[in-house]
């Protein structure tokens, strides 16, 4: 059943059109002095909401240990195959030798990345995070590949104090290396 909206017939002043133009002019004139809505982009940035999926980055834990253990799950799950990891051993005399592996090379090709966040979802170590950076630019294709150093620079430190591997190390030491 269609709803018929009765249209009020125009009165004489409205038919004359000029008073209505004057009213319209008053509206537009007021608009000139209202607050501007423009965000002047490079200087002003939009607020980034919590949980925003920006550029994928690698993070360290509060003690500065790189969290990635080079399990290559993210590389496997990545739909556009943007991630390339070359695993590397951690030397025996290192403080974190019990972690066994760390990435030697970690490249994310930002020309391929689709910002889906599956790498973050799949990571068992919570080492890869899509953070709030959203504008990437470069002059060459090579520039658009984030290497390991760049990824850690973008990622920074994840302030959560799990210290999973440290606890493992302590547990195994107290148990006489039987853990």
């Amino acid at each position: 059943m269609p709803i018929v909206v009765k249209r009020k017939p125009l009165n004489l002043l409205e038919k004359l059109y000029l008073p209505e133009i004057a009213r319209g002019l008053a509206v537009t004139f007021r608009r000139m002095f209202e607050k501007k809505v423009t965000l002047e982009y490079p200087e002003q940035r939009p607020p980034i909401p919590e949980g925003y999926r920006g550029v994928p980055t690698l993070v360290r834990d509060p003690e500065g240990r790189e969290k990635c253990v080079s399990c290559q799950l993210c590389e496997f799950v990545c739909p556009p195959k943007a991630i390339r990891i070359t695993p590397g051993e951690i030397p025996e005399d290192d403080e974190h030798a019990n972690v066994e592996k760390a990435p030697k090379e970690f490249d994310i090709d930002m020309l391929r990345c689709i910002y889906c966040g599956m790498c973050q979802e799949v990571c068992p170590e919570e080492a890869i995070w899509l953070q709030n950076q959203y504008s990437m630019s470069g002059y060459t294709r090579a520039e658009m590949v984030n290497d390991k150093a760049k990824l850690y620079e973008l990622g920074g430190t994840l302030p959560d104090e799990h210290f999973k591997w440290k606890k493992k190390k302590e547990a195994s030491r107290s148990a006489g290396d039987h853990h």
Partner: protein, 367 residues
């Protein structure tokens, strides 16, 4: 005429035309700024010059105001690729933008913009030529501008420009009539029995000095003329020729680079001349207030020239702002509405107005 006279006149003409062109480019900037303010944006505020832009505070303020933007816009028009499509009639295609700009620049010759009072009380009017048929000259030349539009539409050999050209010509013809008739009361009053008959714009301004402005006792003439000026300059709500939402951009769809720039400048020159004509005919020209002239304030010499020109330019800028303000207030009329407004409302209204003022002037002048 002496050879030196010709040289001096040429220099004056060059100055006036370059000032007009400067006004055009800053009118474009004003248009962009006013549009953005009304829409809640900030408008062009990035373009800057190396030295001027780095003056502390002032440079930044000017940059934010977009003062350097017209230079960038002009250069852009100069250096962009100038495309002449293969399907156009080349001669007329090139001729059209010139034809639309030249009339606008020609009409400025008879527009007075101030006066200079010498020490001995004689007055020199600041006008390129004070011919006695100025208003006829303006109507004749400015309506030639439509040929540029029509020619552009036809020479482009493409349907949207063609439609734009047709609409432009129809609209021009319709509104020229009402416009011509609406100013008749003014000149009827000036040429009444017992007065020195004149069609000169200088005399129109002088007739308003120290008395009522024509807009005050001929409001209908003023209103009809104002609406017609909007139609004549192809400004919204009457931009039938362009109507970018229906006809891409109407008659200049096929134009690019500097040819497009010429159309653009021509349109703004038309607007500026139109604003000047309204100010001169109906709003007292360079007289600051009704019933007051600058002479009443005791202003003479150079100050009189500066103040009178400033007053006229102020009124002109006010009208330019009004043009832009209207643009963002009223939506475009439909083609049939434009025709209806022109033929069925403005033309009868202007004729009725003419008859009314014939009677009024008769009774005022009646012995």
């Amino acid at each position: 005429m002496e050879i030196s006279d010709i040289i001096i006149k040429t220099i004056y003409a060059a100055i006036v035309v370059s000032v007009l062109m400067g006004f055009c480019s800053y009118a474009v900037l004003a248009e962009r700024k006013v549009s953005s303010w009304i829409q809640g944006r900030v408008g062009p505020n990035r373009t800057t010059l190396p030295l001027l832009g780095s003056i502390p505070y002032v440079g930044r303020f000017l940059t934010r105001l977009g003062i350097f933007q017209p230079a960038a816009d002009g250069l852009k028009f100069l250096f962009k690729e100038d495309v002449i499509p293969a399907h156009v009639n080349k001669l007329y295609f090139v001729l059209a933008p010139v034809l639309s700009l030249i009339p606008a620049l020609t009409t400025v010759a008879v527009v007075p913009f101030g006066y200079f009072e010498h020490a001995d009380g004689t007055i020199t009017n600041l006008v390129l030529t004070d011919i006695n048929v100025a208003i006829l000259f303006i109507f004749a030349i400015s309506s030639l501008g439509v040929y540029g539009v029509v020619l552009a539409g036809w020479a482009s050999n493409s349907k949207y420009p063609f439609l734009g050209g047709i609409r432009a010509s129809a609209q021009m013809i319709s509104y020229e009539l009402a416009m011509g008739i609406s100013v008749l009361p003014v000149f009827m009053w000036l040429n009444g029995p017992g007065r020195d008959g004149t069609l000169s714009l200088v005399d129109v301004v002088n007739a308003q000095g120290g008395g009522l402005w024509f807009a005050m006792w001929m409001p209908f003439s003023f209103l009809i003329f104002l609406v017609c000026i909007f139609a004549e300059t192809n400004r919204l709500p009457f931009d039938m020729a362009e109507s970018e939402t229906e006809l891409v951009s109407g008659f200049h769809t096929e134009y690019s680079s500097f040819k497009f720039g010429l159309f653009f400048v021509g349109e703004y020159a038309h607007m500026i001349i139109g604003s000047a004509i309204i100010a001169i005919l109906f709003l007292g020209g360079w007289h600051p207030l009704p019933f007051m002239t600058w002479a009443d304030f005791g202003v003479t010499g150079w100050l009189s020239a500066v103040l009178s020109v400033g007053t006229l330019l102020g009124k002109l800028c006010g009208f330019l702002f009004f043009f832009m303000w209207i643009r963002w207030t009223l939506p475009r009329f439909r083609y049939d509405q434009v025709m209806k407004l022109g033929w069925q409302m403005l033309l009868p209204a202007s004729i009725a107005n003419l008859i009314l003022y014939t009677i009024v002037i008769y009774f005022i002048d009646a012995p």
